[in-house]
Amino acid sequence: MESRVSAGELARLGVTVRIPTTLRAYTDGQDEVLLEGTDLAALLRRLDDAFPGIRERVVDETGAPRRYVNLFVNDELVREPLPAVHLSAGDVVHILPSVAGGSLA
């Protein structure tokens, strides 16, 4: 199940969050969802309101992204604390696991 929206709707409605395959069990299979949020921390709380449990997969108890989770806003890797990452309608947030090449696992 997908919920794609047009570019015009995105700009008007809010921020798109792209959901990685392994977390789509939380979103009933949706690969992207549209939410309102003025910063990245607030956006993840909104995401969790809609899909309980998903936020804890992305950030730990300190509110920081888990060690091997990367967040992008549009094409930019997020390096700042999440409350400091301001969002605007039309932004696209990507939640991506790190590639683990070279691991002893």
Partner: protein
Amino acid sequence: MPSVKKDSAVVLVGTKKGGFIFHSPDRRRWSVQGPYCAGMPVYHMILDPRDGRTVYAVAPNPGEVWGPGLYRGRLGSGLALSKAAPKFKEGSGLALTRIWHLEPGLPDSPDTLYAGVEPAALFRSDDRGDSWDGFDALNHRPGRENWQPGFGGLCAHSVLVGPRDPRHLVVGISSVGTFESRDGGESWTTENGNVRAGFLPNPYPETGQCIHHLTWDSAGDGSIFHQNHCGTYHRGPQGGAWTEITKGLPSDFGFAIAADPLHARTAYVAPLVGGENRVPPKSQLAVWKTTNAGRTWRRFTQGLPGPAAYMGVLREAMATDAKDPVGVYLGTNTGQLYASRNEGESWKAMSVTLPPILSVSAGIAR
């Protein structure tokens, strides 16, 4: 896939690439189910002794990156994530990275589970793992800022619940030491008397000991067996200082220790050369057994690999069942699983092609 017959021995194996469940009515021919949590490290997997049917496992949730998870299911069927994993309170500055050990509560509290985690802390669930509460008096104990991790991390890996009194709790933390509570976790004492920490300037500090594994002595009187980075120990029913029982063993280093559930003062260890060379002495994998709380030891090698055996045995990778004679199970970090159905006298390989083995537990199906 054959179903698991009542009264079968069940051996649950957590590996670096999933969990496997071996079962056998006679402990001669084994069937295997799995992998569960395929591709993921399963740090611990247990059969609930209170019903002989519920399986719990701990593994990442899902994949390696999304945090720890508790999985639950019935023997012979799949495992599913519980509603929640343990977690620290936001604002505590602590973030849970791994669940190391699951310990069931007593028979009169069938929904209770304890979890030892990294960074070192103890949690309890009273709804089979759907919600958790931390033991704040331990988890946020003053002085925690001075706790130092062992090579495996700052982890609470051993959790003992008093068989007659669930208010009696014992926790092993690397490399901090043993903590004990007799009031259900409201208060804790350090219990490291006479335990060496040979890697520190003061070899007998109050804390800083590198506990590798703790297990109740089946005497049921509060006695404990203890494998440490620096020796093997036993503590009697009155508590207090430990008695070092390394004499008679080929080294003072090892990870695994398993008590015999039917015979008091009886335990099994798998010594390794030392902290800098974690392989069997003389390149012969061997299990050593005491029947007198460590006054003497016997070495068993029949059926175990060597010479030229260079594997290790991790802290959670040896277990006993409660059949008579007692079965003993041993997993290696090179993926070999061995069983003895005569209390350690001789061994047979159950599998030699598993991924590296992180944990072994055993139970009886009901």
